[in-house]
């Protein structure tokens, strides 16, 4: 088989491929940024332009993104909370400082694990669903139909998801904070014979509003990332049903990668002293 007309050697072609995918990534980021800007515009200006953002689709999305995710978020958060407690007690017992586990669990969960786990979970659950929906709608000419009807697709499709995500992801993180700390508390009180109410008091005393906010701020960023990546990947669909499968997978991989990287950068920028 004749090679494509690209010039020359394998390393060169590799560089070219890297260049091309970098370009595509930059393009996607640009698209995502535009999407956020447009969404803000329609949210604020929609009424004046005769294109209102309706509350019902927002509620429907909140139900789907938030309420339906409660069971799985609860399960994972409790599990991680208990895991942290187990590992914490094991490590700290070497210094005879088991009771300090409360500190580790409280900070670890609220600042790091609750937002991260919830973000990853929702990227897998709702980011992929968004990409699949947008991909299918693109292929089925539904986006075209919206445009010729004079209905702005960003206002109609993106804004409700984005708003719902911005409300529900922080809410889920708060919920994850609560249940994971309670789960860890149950384990700690059983293991160390600590009174549950003592545990709760200690935790509340340790945690400041800043710790909770640290997690919530991150979850707001995650919400924007998950939505824009889901939409951008979904809109990039090509071909038929396999195309939709591909963009759905992309949305999960891109979403989780973006969340983990952002988490690291955020922690680095705000926590280092």
């Amino acid at each position: 088989m004749a090679p494509p007309e690209t010039s020359g050697s394998a390393p060169l072609r590799f560089v070219e491929a890297v260049g091309r995918s970098t370009l595509r990534a930059v393009e996607q980021v640009g698209f995502g940024a535009t999407l956020v800007g447009d969404s803000a515009y329609w949210l604020i200006m929609g009424r004046r332009r005769g294109q209102v953002v309706r509350p019902q689709p927002v509620f429907a999305e909140m139900m789907e993104i938030g309420i339906r995710a409660i069971p799985i978020v609860t399960m994972l958060a409790v599990t991680i909370g208990i895991m942290l407690a187990i590992q914490g007690i094991y490590q700290l017992s070497r210094f005879g400082a088991e009771t300090q586990v409360v500190v580790g669990v409280a900070f670890g969960m609220t600042r790091e694990f609750a937002p991260l786990i919830t973000g990853i979970l929702i990227a897998g659950r709702s980011g992929s669903a968004l990409a699949a929906r947008l991909g299918t709608m693109t292929i089925n000419q539904e986006i075209d139909a919206l445009e010729v009807m004079g209905v702005n697709p960003t206002r109609f499709l993106v804004v409700p998801s984005l708003v719902a995500m911005l409300i529900m992801l922080p809410a889920l993180v708060v919920w994850a904070d609560i249940v994971s700390l309670l789960g860890a508390g149950l384990y700690i009180s059983a293991e160390l014979g600590m009174n549950m109410s003592t545990y709760v008091d200690q935790t509340l005393e340790l945690l400041s509003a800043g710790d909770l906010l640290h997690g919530l701020e991150k979850s707001l960023i995650f919400a924007v990332l998950i939505t824009t990546i889901g939409i951008a990947d979904g809109a990039s669909v090509e071909g038929g049903a396999e195309g939709v499968g591909r963009v759905t997978t992309n949305a999960v991989v891109h979403g989780i990668t973006a969340i983990v990287l952002t988490d690291m950068i955020f922690a680095f920028a705000t926590t280092r002293s």
Binding site: N140, D144, A145, E147, M149, G150, V151
Partner: protein, 272 residues
């Protein structure tokens, strides 16, 4: 049959439209005019550029050069609010139907009313039922698109396209894949809409019979060029070999007689 007079005002004006997909030039300088109140049928072989042309008429695709005017407005220069205004005046029945899968049939048909009017819910529902009645889908408003057959999806899409009584109606392959009875009734519907409401209608179709039934004029595309534009009689009696070839081929596809086809296969087998 051709009722539109030559001096009717222009609804759509295309001038020297050239377009590319990537490096490939798809349309090579299209000129056409659709007058108000006429039914223009766009025909042509597969891949000749019918859908591409339609997408330009709708402003969904950006041309390399040339101009497309829809109801007096240059589509290539419209901003968001211009598109919104034009959107109120046109209806489109897409080839795939393009019904929104998360909404019921009724909600789909009502969507343009919800988005563009301040009518109360009851009025909108009455209008929605009327349009569903017209496409013979009365009573199906609560079903979801996934519960409809292919032909029903097309008819529901048609109902949605006409729910605002648009000035210009576009339909991409409205009768492809429908049984002859329903397809005939859609043709009737198209004729009625033109006669009763003076609607301007642009139809892309493969079906020669349907085209001859409804068309005031026919635009025939061939590999991205306009082969001919004229009335049904003009096209039918054209002495252009390419036109005759396309017409005959369409007929062949339409009335493929299985026995004759088998006989031909067997004959070819013997010869080989």
């Amino acid at each position: 049959m051709a009722t539109s007079s030559t001096d009717a005002p222009t609804a759509i004006l295309v001038r020297d439209l050239v377009t590319h997909y990537g490096d490939r030039e798809i349309l090579h300088g299209i000129d056409m005019e659709v007058r108000q109140g006429e039914i223009m049928v766009i025909m042509g072989g597969s891949g000749s550029g019918k859908t591409t042309l339609l997408r330009h008429l709708l402003g969904l695709e950006k041309a390399t050069s040339g101009s497309v005017q829809l109801l007096g407005r240059e589509l290539t220069e419209l901003d968001e609010s211009g598109i919104y205004e034009v959107g109120k005046k046109i209806g489109v029945a897409f080839q795939s139907g393009a019904l929104f899968s998360s909404m019921s049939v009724g909600e789909n048909v009502m969507l343009p009313l919800v988005e563009h009017t301040r009518l109360d819910r009851e009025t909108m529902e009455i209008m929605m039922r009327m349009k569903l009645e017209i496409v013979k889908l009365a009573g199906f408003e609560d079903l979801m698109p996934a519960e409809l057959s292919g032909g029903m999806i097309k008819r529901a899409a048609f109902a949605r396209a006409v729910v605002m009584d648009p000035v210009v109606l576009f339909a991409d392959e409205p009768s492809a894949g429908l049984d002859p009875v329903v397809s005939r009734s859609l043709d009737e519907l198209i004729l009625n809409l033109r006669d009763a409401l003076g609607m301007t209608i642009v139809v892309v179709t493969h079906e020669l019979e349907s085209a001859f039934n409804i068309a005031d004029r026919i635009t025939m595309l061939d590999q991205g060029n306009i082969l001919t534009i004229g009335t049904v009689d003009d096209v039918r009696s054209s002495d252009n070999v390419r036109v005759q070839h396309l017409l005959n081929r369409c007929f062949e596809e339409e009335v493929l007689d299985p026995d004759a086809y088998l006989a031909r296969l067997v004959g070819e087998g013997r010869r080989a």
